[in-house]
């Protein structure tokens, strides 16, 4: 399968519908509501960052969209089809350590096509092509453990995008990287996203990261997570590193900081994962 970039850019797929959903986690007496009454839609091709304090359920929402967690109430749809379970149509990138350690980079990336029954030479060709796109040409035969954290995340992104998903779900994908690698990876992501425009939900608790990347930032409250603000960003693209020092950027950053630092907001809770409580 070739990545026909011109094709992808004209697709108008990837509309996400989040319709009055609540998600409860835990069993019996330990059960709690992780998110409550979320209700918003995401347009095809949009890059949305979900911001919120630790444990607010933003990763839970992502897990539900990926099909790994059931919703307790409401409905999740992608292009008007209900989300019923995991699917290569909804690619998810975790924070770290989800590459298959026993597969070389090329085989990790070619996993999706292999599952679809694509022949070896064809899927390797597709894998090499997308690896070039994420800047990893020459590393095809490496094992994940031989790569740096940033390079591993590039492989993760390539492995998901090779399936040409309708939506890309990212759970603090750069959270484990050092500051310098992190800001480089943000630019890498925007570059890839420009070439393979895909509806993206990017969960983070880093305000600057959200403002730098997103078309739109959704701010969530502490548990049970609810939407407290939905901000459309006025910044044009392509984004440059200088953006973070512009007055508009700083003003928005202060506004979100205030939102997240409400006087009644409790201590941050333990982090939830897209697979549930841990």
């Amino acid at each position: 399968m070739n990545i026909r970039i011109s094709d992808v850019s004209t697709r108008s797929v990837g509309r996400i519908g989040i319709e009055r959903i609540s998600i409860s986690l835990g069993d019996g007496a330990d059960a709690f509501e992780a998110v409550r009454d979320l209700d918003f839609a995401i347009a095809p091709g949009e890059l949305v960052c979900v911001l919120g304090p630790s444990g607010c359920g933003k990763s839970t929402l992502l897990g539900a969209l990926a099909g790994h967690l059931p919703v307790t109430q409401g409905r999740l749809t992608v292009d008007d089809q209900a989300v019923l379970g995991p699917s290569p149509d909804r690619g998810i990138v975790f924070q770290q350590h989800t590459l298959f350690p026993w597969k070389r980079v090329r085989d990790n990336v070619a996993f999706g096509p292999k599952m679809r029954g694509v022949g070896r030479s064809e899927r390797y060709q597709a894998a090499d092509e997308i690896l070039r796109l994420v800047g990893l040409e020459g590393f095809e035969r490496f094992y994940p453990s031989q790569l740096s954290g940033g390079m591993q995340q590039r492989v993760e992104i390539a492995r998901v995008l090779i399936n040409r998903p309708r939506v890309l779900l990212m759970d603090e994908p750069f959270g484990a990287l050092d500051a310098q690698t992190r800001s480089m990876m943000q630019e890498v992501l925007l570059d890839i996203w420009t070439r393979i425009p895909t509806t993206t939900i990017f969960v983070t608790h880093d305000i600057e990261e959200a403002l730098f990347l997103a078309d739109r930032v959704i701010v969530m409250s502490a548990r049970p997570g609810r939407v407290i603000e939905d901000i459309r960003l006025p910044f044009g693209r392509p984004r440059r590193a200088e953006l973070v020092t512009e007055p508009d950027f700083v003003r928005l950053k202060r506004r979100i900081l205030d939102l997240l630092r409400q006087p009644d907001s409790p201590e941050p809770l333990a982090r939830l994962s897209p697979l549930g409580i841990r």
Partner: protein, 267 residues
Amino acid sequence: MTTTRTAVQVPWARWLVRGFSIVACIVLWHLASVLHLSLGFVTFRNVPPPTEVLQSAIILLKSPKLLAHVGSSLWRVFAGYGAAVLLGIGFGFAIGRSRAASDLLLPPLELLRPIPAVAWIPLSILIFPSSEMSMIFITFIGALFPIILNTVHGVANIDRRLVASARSLGGTPAAILREIVLPGAAPSIVTGLAIGMGTSWFCLVTAEMISGQFGIGYYTWEAYTLQNYADIIVGMLIIGLLGMGSSWLLTTLGHYLMPWRQPAVAR
């Protein structure tokens, strides 16, 4: 300071020390047996010196008996251990992946597990009409439990984020078992295989001493009853070599099957 110096030490010097250590052991053995060393609670009066053992070894090497003994021992290990590998990994996968299989299979296994394999010898002689089968069974029992338990451990401890990723990438349950669970559990399985191999040989030698007619354990015990004391040590050394060889085989197999890990099996 000391550690740095050891680290940069030249390799041949280290090999020299290692070689010296072995030579020293042989010399001590020689002295103890030639001088009929007796410390009261332990005596070397009946222990033959290394030279005598070497002569016996050469005689055995030239005789057709060696092949018969080693051959029948190897066959028993191959059959018993092989069956334990197949059944152990199969059971381990079932128990590690399915709650129903775990509830069904685990209770009896947990009850039988604390019984040392050697304690099975009398019963297995009663159960199996041929002593050959009973020895293979003991070898099998010895290897079975470490293989099952390590497989279960490996299978049950697969990082669920890896399984979730595979599902999100379109992996079917069968593909996930093959592409994720099996390689993910492989290090633990190989550890089980290595432990199982050790207990397998241990049980086999014991069983052969009790009920064998051929086999290296039988050879060693026969040497004792016939008072060919040098042959006892020859038998012991051969058992040691066979154990070493099979564990080398497993380590090599581990490296070959798991190239993504550096040192695969612990020694």
